[in-house]
Each structure stands twice: as structure tokens, then as C-alpha cells.
Symmetry: none
Subunit: 414 residues, 2 copies
């Protein structure tokens, strides 16, 4: 597998606001042809750091792509520094200047003398034309390695890569195809999952696996390689099936879907409807469910019963229950779920009441205490969890736990 | 001026999807205290590249910050490699293990043995506690230089930096102080704002200004410099006041608050209550409002009336209105707001009904058509907007427009 590094050049990309969109886009294109991006650097108009960066990258990796720093001003140092980093000279190309003069005239202007700088090219480089701007790009072969020098603006960078670089790298990368697949797991920790499934993925040398914790779930990323897509997909499928066999119902997604998509699909497939009563999550569950296009087929109604009057008024929770057990209690959660389901006349209802913090906790019910209620026609029940994290995480994890609870109930019934 | 490099560690950040949010955030914080970020690197779980990156960075720059790779698994190589890169040993801290065991027990679990790895600390490092996760951070003095090792999750990384690193670097950075201030504006475009306020900010050489469009609002970032915080703050304040004078009510935030914070503060200050009826936004407004700690003082109830039966049942919208004008109409929006307010007995109610797409649009009411309703004791009204964007953006922009409408109504009344 070929390795690549991407070097993004320009001081404006070292500000707090600017995302390196070229780097992300190029990563996607390289991954498509099975080239692994090993390192990305963002460096300013800083000769010494840039030279060191390019020199290290060419030493370490098969393909090095730089973007930016090819404009006509003194700040644009990529031509000079990339040549120096690989120990070559810059060569002046009169034909590039001629071409630029013609283009400037077509735009109704004379070419400024300063643009002559853009006619210097690394010796031995192949020149990549730029129909969308004044800076040409370059590819330089250094032994078996490739240095690719592209302009920074995405509308110049991306067509140039697509038209003149992609095919060349694809040939170099060869026949092997890489396919990715993401499984998601709830209710089991990262290390326990790794312990359970390591024997599965370790048995295959053509797949690489990484395990990541993401707020309230663990993701298992499989990247299989094969001679073609079918072969790589089949390998992913084989391993995914074994993981599901091992971890069971805890695997809620086998191709990267979010929890709300999985629950929505289950409801739609079974022709069931849902309503949701939320207190501490304040609308998060409803918002997640309705984020899915087509959710109106199964999501009927939600109530955000933040104040106690809303719980008694809108959800028909009896004031005695709240008084006796508290608004954050199993009894209130169950009454909320039941009241919600009856009012909205849905097959299922889920409810949440808890303490998201930062204030409102007590010794008996600390911040993070959450009760999740569930109700269907035959059964109303609840469970309690105590979640770590700040307000944002407690709310997120509560919403995930409630959706997962519903998912498990639906699966048990089918 | 001190120079810094940021090294973000983790293979998941070398995928086409993941933005380096830590790197951007840290850049902002460093700029605040006048530290210049010279280079950013994103590197995977790759020992050789990481070691070389850390070694080069420490050689070149005054402050080096790494984020990520401090988890308990074998992939988490930052502890080992950063120690090796600077030629120090790792030291095992029994007290960290003890502390972790207690935390795991509080979460109702036993600490997995694997987490012992997180108790290794670079010799001579100062340990940075992590109330939000299991990985401690470190700062290491290397002569006059600083290596700062932080965990990856932003909810761990950012508080740790704020609490234990910021002040230390600020002292090191010395005399000139930079202070940032963010104003947010709704209802006027980026270039119109720039035209209006350029004469204001251009008149001051000690302030730099940038204007950014962000989903549904325009942000004006001011960075003032001065001999001390008071001086820099005063300059920001002077310019902010002039901008507010020029742009008026369109400026909804003068120190970076989100719209839901601004609206919440207005409600709290005036002792007023709010309820919300949502259709196409599916809970997003309620979720945003209740994201603010203390929102239970003014937010009483929300109804997500996704199905028509929910609109008629829970919000008392007459079926004739829906039949005659449609569920997405001014009449329905107004009836939703009025029905919500009366039911929840709040001072204000707002409502949204619209077509978030991707399907459901018609020639007369294309995707993006949204009606926003408002009701108080004396007045019920609505307005229509047609929003560009995909489902996510239409929902977001609708929620923003509804909150902004409420804000302007409250301000008009006071």
C-alpha cells in the first residue's frame, strides 16, 4: 500500500477559522485508490519549516502532495522551497509566460511583471496546466517517489488533481482495492469489545481494524483489501457477520448508520409508530429522530415537558406521583411514557427525566441521574442510569440510551 | 513573539471526514495571548512519523502541543513516543491508578487492567488532571521550551487547556496582550456588513477584524492588542459599541453568545415564560433552548407536532384550517403558536411549520418554505421565509429565524 503525505501551505490556514478543505478532499481521493494518507502538515509562508517538512515527507512517503503557495507574490515560496528541499534547480519557461500574457489579455488586462515568477518550474518536472488560474502545477519523479505541487484554491486544485494526477497515481497504486465498513456498538466498553473481537480480525491479514469511542458508542472500522470491490466487500461482510455473532444485539449498526436511523428503520419496517416525552434532554431525541428524512412515517408527536405543570398537564402524570417520588424518578418516567403513548395513540412511547446539570443534583440523585421510560400496549417499564460527563454529554448519552432501549425492545418482540 | 506547533494524533483524523477541531480551537486560544502557530501536523498511530514530528517541532518552536493518543489501547502511542522523542523515561504513578479505580467504581464498573497504561507519565512532567475522562495530560519543560500533552476529545482537551495550560503560557508569552471579541449579526449579509463597518474598524490600527458567515449568521471577530487586558478590552468595547450603533437590532450578540443564550437571557431578565410548537424542526428549537443551563426558569413546554393529528390534538389547531390552508401555511403556524401558548399558559409561544426536504416540496411550496408563528397575550402573527440549503441547514436556519423573531418581539416591547 502506498503512503502519502499532504502539505498545505499558507499562513491563512494557520488561523482559528480556516479548515483545510483541500487536505480533506485529497485524502478522500487518495483513499479511493488505496493510497494511505500517513501525515498532514499545515505550514505558513515560512521557508525553513516548509523546506524541512517537504524534505522529511519525501524521505518517508511514496507520494507527497503540496497545495498552495504558487501565487505571484513574495509570500508564495512553494516553487523555490520545494526545489531546494529536493536539491533541484528552478527552470524558467518562456512558453508559460507567453501563455499567461495571452490569458491576461483575454481578461482585458496586461500581465503584471510579477507573474513571471509563475513561469519557474522544478527541473525535470511535468507541468500541469491550470485552466482556472495563473499558477501551473507540477509532478516530479524522485526515484520511485512522486512529489505533486498543486495550487491552493479548491477550484484550481481539484480539477488539476482530477485531470492530471489521479490517473497517474492510480496506475502507480496498482490493482488492489480498499473498502471501508463501520460497525457501531452500544452498551459495551472499548476495551471489552477489543478483547472479544481481536481473535476475529487478527485472523485476517487483508483487513485493518480500528476501534474508536465516540461520545456514547464504540465504532469498529474495518478496511478490507482485495483484487476488486466484490472481494474486499465480501471480506468485510464475513468479518462483520462474525462480530455480530460475537457481540450480539449490542451491535446496533453494521454499515455506519446512526442510532436514530436504525430505530427509524425498525419502526418503518414493522409499521409501528412512536411518540416521545422528554424532560432533561429537552427535545434532543425528537430532533435526532426527525433529522432522518421520511421520519414522518413513524414519528407522530413529542412533548418537551420541562416544567412539572407540563408533565401533569400534557402527559397526564398525576401530581401525587411527582410529589411522592419526585420529577426525576422511575415512577414519573413510566407515567410520562404511558401518558405520552395514550395521548398520541402510538404503538410505542419512550420518556426521559433526569438531571443534566450543572446544578440540580442532590446526594441521592447526583447530576447525571437519568430515568428512561418505555411503554407499549402491554407493558410500561423504566430503568435508571447514572451518566458521566457535562450537560452536553449527559443529554447526548441519555438520548442514545433511550433510543437503544427502544431498539432492544422492538428486536425482542420480533 | 513565541512560536507554537500543534500536533494532532490519531488515524481517525487522517480520514476525509474529520476536521481537526482541536487544532483550530487551540490556535484561537494561543492567538489570544499573542503566540503564533507556525505549523500544524496531523499524524496517525505511526510511531516513526510521530517521533520525528515531535522531535522536529520541539527543535523549531517554543511551545509544542500534542492532542490525542492518550487512551488505554495499544493504538494510543503518544505517551511512549513523546517521551522517546525528547529522550526521557516514562514513570508509573500508582496514585493515578488508584484515582482511576475510584472513578470507574463511581460509574458502576471495575477498571479494566488495560487502563493502567494511562498511569505512565513522562519523567519531570507536571500532571494535568482530567475531570472529564480517564487520561491525564502533561506539561514538560525542556530548557526554555514547553511540550504540552493533551487528550483528544474536545470535552477533555479544552477544559484542561483552559484550566492548567493557558495561564502558564500567558505568563511565558509576556507583555503584549491580545483580546478577542465576537459580535453576531442576523438578517444582514456579509458584504453589506463589511461595507457598513469597515470605516469603524479601519480607523484603529491596534485591532484586526475578520468577518465570517456561519450557517445562518454573520460573525464579526475583533482582536484588539494592548499593554494589558483592560486596554485591549476597552478598545474592543469602543469598536463593538460603534458597530452596534451602526447595525442596530441586527446585532444579536456582542460577546459571542449563541442565539438561544441571548433569547434565554432576555426571557429571564423580563421574568417571562416560553413554550414552543415545532413541526419541521422536530425538536431543534427546544433542544437549543434547553441546552442552556438554567433554562427551566423560562422554558415551560414544547410540542413536536409532526403528524397532523398532533397539531389538532395537542395544539388545538382546527382540522378545517389544516384542510383549507395546508399544514404548511401562515394560518396553521399562527394556530399552532396560539394553541401552544394557551395550553402551556406561557407569556410567549413560537411555532414552526415548513418543508425541510429532501421530498415534500411542491411548485407552490418548494422545499425550504417555512412559516414561523408568534403569539403573546395581545397578538398572534406569522411570517414566511424560503430558505436555501439541505435538510440540515433548512432546519437550522428555521430554528434561528424563529428565535430571532422572538428576540426582536421582546426587544420591541421593552
Amino acid at each position: 500500500m502506498l503512503s502519502a503525505e499532504i502539505i498545505t501551505i499558507g499562513s491563512e490556514l494557520l488561523t482559528p477559522e480556516k479548515t483545510d478543505t483541500n487536505g480533506l478532499w485529497l485524502t478522500g481521493k487518495l483513499n479511493e485508490i488505496g493510497i494511505d494518507v500517513k501525515l498532514k502538515t499545515i505550514v505558513g509562508d515560512d521557508s525553513l519549516r516548509l523546506e524541512e517538512t517537504i524534505r522529511d515527507a519525501v524521505k518517508r512517503s511514496d507520494v507527497v502532495i503540496t497545495t498552495g503557495g504558487l501565487g505571484p507574490t513574495e509570500d508564495d515560496i512553494t516553487r523555490t522551497i520545494s526545489a531546494r528541499a529536493i536539491g533541484r534547480e528552478l527552470v524558467f519557461h518562456e512558453d508559460i509566460v507567453e501563455h499567461l500574457r495571452i490569458r491576461f489579455r483575454a481578461w482585458g488586462r496586461e500581465m503584471p511583471e510579477i507573474n513571471k515568477r509563475q513561469a519557474y518550474v522544478i527541473e525535470g518536472a511535468e507541468i500541469l496546466p491550470n485552466p482556472n488560474g495563473s499558477a501551473v502545477g507540477m509532478t516530479v519523479k524522485i526515484g520511485e517517489k512522486f512529489l505533486v505541487v498543486l495550487p491552493g484554491p479548491p477550484r484550481e486544485n481539484q480539477p488539476m488533481f482530477n485531470n492530471f494526477v489521479f490517473q497517474k497515481l492510480k496506475e502507480k497504486a496498482g490493482e488492489i482495492v480498499f473498502r471501508k465498513r463501520i460497525l457501531k456498538v452500544s452498551g459495551i466498553g472499548e476495551s471489552a469489545i477489543d478483547e472479544a473481537i481481536a481473535p476475529i480480525y487478527s485472523a485476517h491479514k487483508n483487513v485493518s481494524t480500528s476501534i474508536l469511542f465516540n461520545k456514547s458508542e464504540v465504532e469498529v472500522h474495518l478496511t478490507a483489501q482485495g483484487e476488486n470491490e466484490r472481494q474486499a466487500d465480501a471480506l468485510n461482510e464475513e468479518i462483520a457477520a462474525k462480530i455480530v455473532e460475537t457481540l450480539g444485539i449490542a451491535v446496533f449498526s453494521t454499515s455506519g448508520e446512526e442510532m436514530e436511523e436504525v430505530v427509524g428503520k425498525l419502526l418503518a419496517e414493522n409499521g409501528k409508530t412512536l411518540s416521545v416525552a422528554e424532560s432533561c434532554t429537552g427535545g434532543l431525541i425528537c430532533q435526532r429522530l426527525t433529522d432522518i428524512a421520511g421520519s414522518s412515517a413513524y414519528f407522530i408527536e413529542g412533548v418537551i415537558a420541562y416544567a412539572n405543570e407540563a408533565k401533569t398537564g400534557a402527559l397526564n402524570v398525576s401530581p401525587e406521583i411527582i410529589e411522592q417520588y419526585g420529577a426525576v424518578s422511575a415512577e414519573t418516567a413510566e407515567a410520562m411514557a404511558k401518558g405520552m403513548r395514550e395521548r398520541a395513540r402510538t404503538d410505542y412511547a419512550i420518556s426521559i427525566t433526569g438531571i443534566a446539570g450543572p446544578t440540580g443534583g442532590t446526594e441521592e440523585k447526583p447530576v447525571g441521574t437519568v430515568f428512561i421510560g418505555y411503554s407499549d400496549e402491554g407493558l410500561t417499564k423504566s430503568f435508571k442510569i447514572v451518566l458521566p460527563g457535562d450537560r452536553y454529554l449527559i443529554r447526548w448519552r441519555s438520548s442514545q440510551a433511550a433510543l437503544d432501549y427502544l431498539r432492544r425492545q422492538i428486536l425482542k418482540q420480533n
